[in-house]
Subunit: 380 residues, 2 copies
Amino acid sequence: MFNFKINHKSEISKARTGVFITPHGAINTPVFMPVGTVGTVKTMMPSELKEFGSQIILGNTYHLYLRPGDKSIKKLGGLAKFNGWNMPTLTDSGGFQVFSLSGEKDKGVKQKQKPRKLTEKGVTFYSHLDGSRHFISPEKSIEIQQNLGADIIMAFDHVAPAGATKKEAEEAMERTHRWLVRSKNAKSKLDQALFPICQGGQFKDLREKSATFIKTLDFPGNAIGGVSVGEKKEKIYEVTDWCTNILPEDKPRYLMGIGYPEDICAVIKLGIDMFDCVLPTRLARHGNVWIKSKSRNAIKLIGLDYKYEQIDLLKKKNISNDPIDKTCKCPACQGFSRFYLNHLIKEREPLGVHLLTIHNLYFTHQLVNDIKKKIREKKF
Amino acid sequence: MFNFKINHKSEISKARTGVFITPHGAINTPVFMPVGTVGTVKTMMPSELKEFGSQIILGNTYHLYLRPGDKSIKKLGGLAKFNGWNMPTLTDSGGFQVFSLSGEKDKGVKQKQKPRKLTEKGVTFYSHLDGSRHFISPEKSIEIQQNLGADIIMAFDHVAPAGATKKEAEEAMERTHRWLVRSKNAKSKLDQALFPICQGGQFKDLREKSATFIKTLDFPGNAIGGVSVGEKKEKIYEVTDWCTNILPEDKPRYLMGIGYPEDICAVIKLGIDMFDCVLPTRLARHGNVWIKSKSRNAIKLIGLDYKYEQIDLLKKKNISNDPIDKTCKCPACQGFSRFYLNHLIKEREPLGVHLLTIHNLYFTHQLVNDIKKKIREKKF
């Protein structure tokens, strides 16, 4: 049902291209996966996503469980039918949201929301929507994800908070491993691939221990979690490197929550095949776009022959009668001026965010395509 | 530059099909014109509008003058270039908004907003956005509309409020006529067609006087205004009938602000060729859609062989795993369930309103196409 084949390897890094086969179709790696939190990549029609190069989209278990409910989605034939996408999907375990959206007291939790409670059995939490009480465990997460029916599902993990001590990171990692075994035992459907998540904070020996443990359980793919939580870029790359040195080469490697263009370049070089990020869609909602740029402020994309810049279309200095990026072939750059896009965003017209989202997703998919080309030439 | 040709006439009503040639292209009439208040039909890509049958869209002079400014739009080559539509456009005169959005004291005006002041010269008003002071006159309206560069521009008129006495309606009409002559004299561009607006409230002799006056000035098309302001349907049809009995047959007739399906059927029978309405887009924003229906509550569309119903997709009784309308071929009905659309709207996902807007516009354009077919058979 699931199969990963490596097609090309770079001669100067751990980068590779490959194909991962899933029940809803083949995914050409490396692949950027847009995030569709409540089942939809914000503002985007499924047909547009396909047109602009998306191959697989994410859904968030936590959100979809609360609304509209995983059982309703099951009745409609699963996530890919529910949202009209009909191509490969991936759901996270809900763990990240349980820990970040229903957090501890004194950590930005809304006054009326009770703090979550963690035990070995699982997590009791209160909905960020209406304060209602819920319990999620490895078994419950798998049950929900089986109802959602994504091609790739994630093991329920314990993400240590940013700035965790080694002891805290180790405890979270050990719990993640115990929960992983329970997730594996709970899983009964054959048309879904369960990916374990490597934890261990920013500690080399913990990361190596976690990667080694995961490796022995032989899953169809492996993920790395908890690296993007409040860390510096260099640390993210270092942690990723430790993990990919151990995680099996013949299985796809998924780095969770990564998405800045320079990060995408860096982690593909470290042997990452899959990554997701809300940045292209979230930045669009705030009027920001990524463009190829020769400016002094532009950021180098190591391994590629261009630099990029993030610009704010709400700022006067960035407004002109030109398109977002003259060299870009996306529909937003083919028919609309920065002046018009600025007008739409200021007027809160949904088309504005839609066009900026199209541009950012197009830019990101193009970036990955450019990298793939270099890997095929063995020079990335 | 402008030319109207009638192709078919019904044998049992005043309905006709025709073609109106404009600098940005031909418009096949009767035609429903979607409203793009600030230069964009809410949520819609220009390419989608074309795909689903739109031929001409409206822009609002009042809004575009305030933001982003008519001079900026002129620099970009006019409204049709500004918004990437590149097909025929029409701008209203700003009169309706000046009277409705910056109204009189004690009539729902925001506390901080000063009331507008009407003189023979024009109207001083305060922006509904920031309270800034502005003056608009027939000459100023034409100047703005020439900068906006639409194919069809409207004369600046005085719309009498709902429930106006005959004296008030007559004064507003007489002023509209004096302002019409000033609008005509102010117009200098040849690539824009100026349409006069017939006023006169709900008084037969006033409407006939207004239509007769307008007729003598020989414009490339004629409009009927002030009929939809708080009137009952029967009255709207009656007033329209009075006007179309006099307004020239060989020029397109535009009824302003009409859009319920039964109204569209009724007024086309009365010889109307063009009409605009915010309903398909506004209803979508409130979760409402129009569908073909055999239900007891469905509304007859006289002259067509189906009935329709307006349903609220936020109501539980209307949610199912079926599409909005099984018989509809629009993209919203081809790939998405009512359940999913309900979910999107409740979650305030922009895609929800976008899909409902697509459906309502598609429904409206299809309705007009069905009517055109009947007219070609001379049986509408």
